[in-house]
Structure formats: structure tokens, C-alpha cells
Amino acid sequence: MLKTFSKGGIHPPENKLTSTKTIKRLAPPKVVYVPIAQHIGIPAEIIVDRKDKVEIGQVIAKSGGFVSSNIHSPVAGTVTKLDMVIDSSGYKKQCIVIRTDVKNETNFQETEYPLKKEIDLEPAEIVKRISDLGIVGLGGATFPSHVKLNIKEDKKMDCLIINGVECEPYLTADHRLMLEKGEEIIVGIKILMKALHVHKAVIGIEDNKHDAVELFKRLTADEKEIQVAALQVKYPQGGEKQLISAILDREVPKNGLPMDVGVVVNNVGTIFAIYQAIQHNKPLIERVVTVTGKKLENPSNFWVKIGTPIKDLIEEVGGMPEGTRKIINGGPMMGKAIKNTDVPVTKGTSGILIVDDGEACRGEVKNCIRCGECVNVCPMGLEPHLLMNLTEKGLYEKAAQEDIMTCIECGSCSYVCPSNRPLLDYIRFGKNITKNLASSKN
């Protein structure tokens, strides 16, 4: 029996259309739109001006605080505008617009480096480099990576977990990266183990990626400190708390962090970015993006420069198909629906999913038949039907007592509800109000 997390979970159709497609490198776009808020925390501060010439990898916006991150130019070119551009949230956000210099060769150089195994940097230097080169969590939460590595002195760490779960249907960016950059990822793991002073690392991979499990088992055959854990296929196993529960059978306490149970979790994409930063001094200016959908001509995985408009990627896979109803930035379970295809790829964009009528539309909302399925599938042990009910009635304090704030917004409840009730919509709403109420009290 394969391992999995302790409570709830669902198994939506996997639809991994692109799992056999090698990651293709795209030519740099003519113009990139680089938002200054691509990570959780304080937005970066712009340090370039209109008409400035920038080199590829040059810092163009400086970290605005501890929980923040540097932003580097993805291309060599000229800053044309500092403008407000709609990002995947649907709101206009501050962006640095750079026109790519088509004559500059550095824009077209293949950025493939030879494998470098020796780790020269000391732990403190590793953390500083990760912070300087703008590495954030690439699994989707975009939490600045150096923050996770700053372990408070009273906390004891004993395990690094590498998240290769990719439990979102359709997405294959992490899967392909694991297959194509396995050795680099192993070096990246060792870098983080050195920085964290831990002697145990576990790579968690769901068993639907059997080739990746086999590859990592082979790569770690001689590594005593790195293990591979094949996990049962179950959503939301890629959630940090669920993954720790699946691999180590430890539960992160309510309102706690992974470090409270001695663990740091990093996504495989982040590990690869860290490898490139530490071994080749390369900032985070590109990432793997899966562009997929059942009606697309040629769904693919791409290496994409940060700031590339999404419409460029859609062109690359054969254009927007007839009858498209939804464009999703991310996977179908937690991604954000967007309307405007000028939205740029950011550090947190793991996929673009195009869906048509059949998948996009919500069914008619019916009465709750109290089947309890939302309670069964909730990975946090909550009662979604109750939280929705309390929010609907405006009983936010009661909802807070029922632990509404611990909801991880995985959407399993809305997914299974046989009456199509918008459980997560209401819970999100309730969480927001509860948060505002709490902050207005302080």
C-alpha cells in the first residue's frame, strides 16, 4: 500500500496530456511585462527607469523587505514603460515593460550549463545567494525561498521534503523537469541539505509518474541521505501539510508551519532554480510552463521567460480553439480563471489550461442533501457545508470557531458536492471577512 495523507482527498481525472512532451525552449518574446509583485509578501522596488538599457539577469526591482524578493530582467533590452498591467488576479499591477533587443546575442544563447556537482558555498552564502537571485517557491505559492531557510534558533530541523507530487490535473511541468533535470535536482537537494544542516531528504512523487519515481530511485541508489517516496495518487497531496503527513506521518499543528514539525518543503522546480542560482549564478528569469487543454492542437511544456504574455504561449500551441470558455492560469483545481491573454507569465505560473463548454460551466445549484461528502473529502477535517452555511448567515465568529481559517482552499468540497453548491466560494468569502475582523480588532 502506497503512502498518502491522513485525512480526506479526492481523485479527479488526471488528464496529463503533456507528460511525454519534452520541454521546448521558446524564443524570447518581443516585449516582456515583468510585474514587481510576483511573490507573496512586499512587492519589489523598481530601480530602473524608462529608456534604461538592461542586461539579461540584471536586477530591475529590489527586494522590498525580508519577505520579498529581487526581480531580474528576463531579457537584454530597453525599458520602455513603467506601467500598470492586468495580471492574473484581474487587477492592474505595477509592471516593468522591456523591449527585447533582437540584436543582442545573449537573448538567444542556449542557457544549458554542464552539470556541476561540487558545492563550494557555505550555508550562509547559499541562503544569501538564493535571496539575491530572486528564488521563490515555484509550486504556486511563490513564497520567497530564503525566508523558509531562515530557521529560528529554537526550531530543530531533521528533514527536507522535495515536492514532486504535482497533484493538479493536467499540469506536467514538474514531471518533465524531474525527468529531464534529475541529476541537477539531486545536486540542488544537497545544496539545501547543506544550507539547512539536515541529513535526511525525501522526494515525494505520486505513483502516476512512475518513470520519475524509477529515475530518482536510480539516481539516489548510492545516496544514503536521500530517499524517494512513491505516493498514492490523491489530491491535494502537493499541499505542504498533506505532503508532510503523507511522507513522515506528522501533522503540522493548527496555525503552525512545517518547521514546527522539523521539516522544510520545497518544490522540484524551486530546487532546480536553486541549483542554477548556486552552481551557475543564474537568477530566476524563466520557468517551465505547461500549456494544455483537450481542444488544443499541440499541448506542450515550455521553458518560458518571466514576463511573456500568455497569448504568445497559446499561439505556440496552435492558437485559441473554437468554443473556448475558460482560460485558467494554473491547474483546474486551484488555478485562476483569466479573461485577458495579455497577462504575463510570472514566477508562480505553472500552467495555462484552456477549457471549453463541457468542462467550464458550473451546474445548477441545488439544495444540500446532507450527504456529508464534503466532510469526507476535506483534507483539513473541516465541515465545508457548515462553514458555507455560517458565512451565508453572516455568523463569522462562529465560522472562526469552526476553524474556517485553516481551510487550504484546495476545492475538494466544491468538486464533490452533488448539488453543485459553491462551498469554497463562500468559505473564501468567510475567510476574508474573518481576517479583516481580526485585523480591525487589533
Binding site: S6, K7, I10, K156, M157, D158, P169, K200, L248, R250, E251, V252, P253, K254, V261, G262, G323, T324, R325, I327, I328, G330, P332, M333, M334, G335, K336, A337, I338, K339, D357, E359, A360, C361, R362, G363, K366, N367, C368, I369, R370, G372, V375, C378, P379, M380, G381, L382, E383, H385, D403, T406, S414, V416, P418, S419, N420, P422, L424, D425
Partner: protein, 336 residues
């Protein structure tokens, strides 16, 4: 623009295939084997009773929603159909037609719609209908028809000829189980359904088959039915082992009356049963215990309908006491 507009909505963007309608029709499918047995045993009467119950339940739902409540009509969601079917299963085949109609009106009008419709009813509508009829028309409701199949050792044609009825009456008049055993149908007959009883409750095998289907389709979990039957088996087992002459053995109790129909189809009604597995077990223990107490000491030979309705009333309380274990409440692991 010809192409449909792009939709924006919050995640998740996909939905499982499961709908309330599919759940309702799954239960209907699960009841088919037991219905076929009743057709075989009671013939045309079973068909009439069932059709009348279903048609009047659908009709009352339509009329009340359309003309009285002036709300959306929901007769296609399968729930009224299921209520009708289950009501028919819980009355003797060949009950006078007007009584079936009254039962349907009580089930749909009072037990379901006056509470606010599907999802808001506290009590199982079909059982409310049945119990209403049982209290108003005790004679007709316990007039068990002769089975059509006469070539088997059928329960005798006297009224009250269900297994539990024979036992209750026999013991009241000072009989012992040994004396009564000759009058009782064999375990095999009870398993197959060649015995007296309500329209759909006789054949244990057909009902278990349906119950198994519901479990495979994940419409119900094992918690409620297994716990009810286990509680009944243990309780009747204790009485029987103390005094086998005055108490029937657990097997007779499980195979007779509405035990299996109630455990698999009536108590598992989603709307009127608890949400969590823990709650379901408590709920089911209550049903099992009350059923046994009524069977052994009550005025009625069978008590599972009352037991389910009584425990239905406790469901809100059970839901607020037996919550799922929150993630993160597990005792902290040791960090090496």
C-alpha cells in the same frame, strides 16, 4: 462575436460526475431486486401498491410546489419518486388505494415540503407516511396478504402472520420458542423472502444485494447498516443466550421484519442521518437498541420505523457533538 464569452469564476474549475439526481436513481436501482421479489411473491398487488405510491408522491410534490408554495417544481430530482417507492416497500401489498394516497400526502406534504423540501426535512418522509398509516389504520396496516406462491411453506393466512407477529403473539400467550418454531418460516425462506411482511421487506438476499450495490457505488458507507445489524445481533443475542425459550435468536431478528430494509435503505437516507462516520455509528447504535427494545417489550412486534424516526430527531445534536477530527490535532511527532 460568434464564439461564446470567456467565463471567469473562482476555482475549482472542474466538478465530479456525481449529482444528487444520480444518487437518488442509484438508490432506486438498488431497490429493483427487492421489488422483483415482491412481484413474484405478491403479484399484481405489489405492482398496484407501488405504482400508486410513486404516482401520488410525484403528483403531490408537483401540486404543492406549483400551487401552494409557488416555488420551483423539483419532481425530476428523483427524491419524490424514491419516497414513493420506499413508502410502498413499507406497507402491506394490496393496502387500499386511498390509504396509500393519504400516506403519500403525509410523506410529501407534511414530512418533506412543510420542512422546506429536499435537504431540510428532519424525518425520513417515507417512514413518517408509514407510521402515520400504522397509527391511523392499524388493522389494514397489519393485514398481511397471502403470498401468491402457495407451494412453499408459507406463513399462515391469519392476520399478523409475520415472523415477528407470530413470536410476539405466541410469547404473550405463554408459548415458548420451541413451540413456536414450527409455525415460523425457515431461515432459508426468510432469506429468500417467502414469508409475510411489508411489500419490500421480505427478501433479505435481494435487499442485501441492493445494499451492496449502494456501497460499491459509494452512495452509502457500511457504518450505518452494519452497526444497526450488529447492535441488534448483540442485544438479541444476550437475551436469547439467557433465556432461549422466551427470546428469539439473533438470526430470526435480523432476517425478519424491516431490519435489513431499514438498516440499508431507510436509516441511510442522507438528509436524515449524521454527516460524520463517528456520528453515523452513534446514530446506528441508537436505532439498533431502540428497535430491539420495541420488539421485545413494546406493543408493536416491529419497531425499526419508530427507532429510525426517534434517532432522526437526534441527528442535529449528533452532528454538533461528533465533528470530524481536525487536521493538525494529532500529537506532535518526535523530531530526530
Amino acid at each position: 462575436m460568434d464564439s461564446p464569452p470567456i467565463v471567469i469564476s473562482a476555482s475549482p474549475h472542474v466538478h465530479s460526475e456525481r449529482t444528487s439526481k444520480k444518487i437518488m436513481y442509484d438508490v432506486v436501482i438498488a431497490l429493483v431486486p427487492a421489488f422483483l421479489v415482491s412481484l413474484y411473491v405478491f403479484g399484481f398487488n405489489a405492482l398496484i401498491t407501488t405504482s400508486i405510491a410513486i404516482i401520488s408522491c410525484l403528483l403531490f410534490e408537483y401540486l404543492i410546489q406549483k400551487y401552494l408554495m409557488k416555488t420551483e417544481v423539483t419532481i425530476t430530482d428523483g427524491s419524490a419518486l424514491l419516497t414513493g417507492l420506499l413508502l410502498a416497500f413499507n406497507v402491506p401489498a394490496g393496502l387500499p388505494i386511498w390509504m396509500i394516497i393519504v400516506g403519500s400526502l403525509v410523506a410529501i406534504g407534511i414530512a418533506k415540503l412543510s420542512f422546506g423540501g429536499l435537504g431540510f426535512n428532519v424525518f425520513n418522509p417515507a417512514l413518517v407516511g408509514r407510521v402515520f398509516l400504522l397509527i391511523c389504520f392499524p388493522v389494514q396496516m397489519t393485514l398481511w396478504p397471502m403470498a401468491v406462491v402457495n407451494n412453499t411453506t408459507i406463513a399462515d393466512a391469519v392476520s399478523g402472520a409475520t415472523t415477528l407477529g407470530i413470536i410476539k403473539e405466541g410469547l404473550q400467550f405463554g408459548g415458548t420458542m420451541t413451540e413456536l418454531s414450527a409455525k415460523l418460516p425457515s431461515s432459508v425462506d426468510m432469506l429468500l423472502g417467502i414469508t409475510g411482511g411489508s411489500l419490500g421487506e421480505m427478501s433479505a438476499i435481494a435487499l442485501l444485494l441492493g445494499g451492496l450495490y449502494l456501497m460499491i457505488r459509494k452512495v452509502i458507507s457500511w457504518h450505518i447498516p452494519v452497526t444497526i445489524l450488529l447492535t441488534m445481533a448483540i442485544m438479541t443475542g444476550i437475551f436469547w443466550s439467557i433465556d432461549p425459550e422466551h427470546y428469539a435468536n439473533p438470526l430470526i431478528h435480523l432476517l425478519s421484519g424491516g431490519a435489513i430494509l431499514g438498516a440499508f435503505f431507510m436509516a441511510t437516507d442522507m438528509v436524515t442521518s449524521p454527516m460524520t462516520k463517528k456520528g453515523m455509528v452513534i446514530f446506528a447504535i441508537g436505532i439498533g437498541a431502540i428497535t430491539v427494545i420495541i420488539r421485545l417489550y413494546g406493543a408493536y412486534p416491529e419497531g425499526i420505523s419508530f427507532a429510525i424516526l426517534i434517532m432522526n430527531a437526534f441527528v442535529p445534536l449528533i452532528n454538533s457533538y461528533f465533528k470530524p477530527r481536525r487536521f493538525g490535532s494529532k500529537i506532535k511527532a518526535k523530531i530526530m
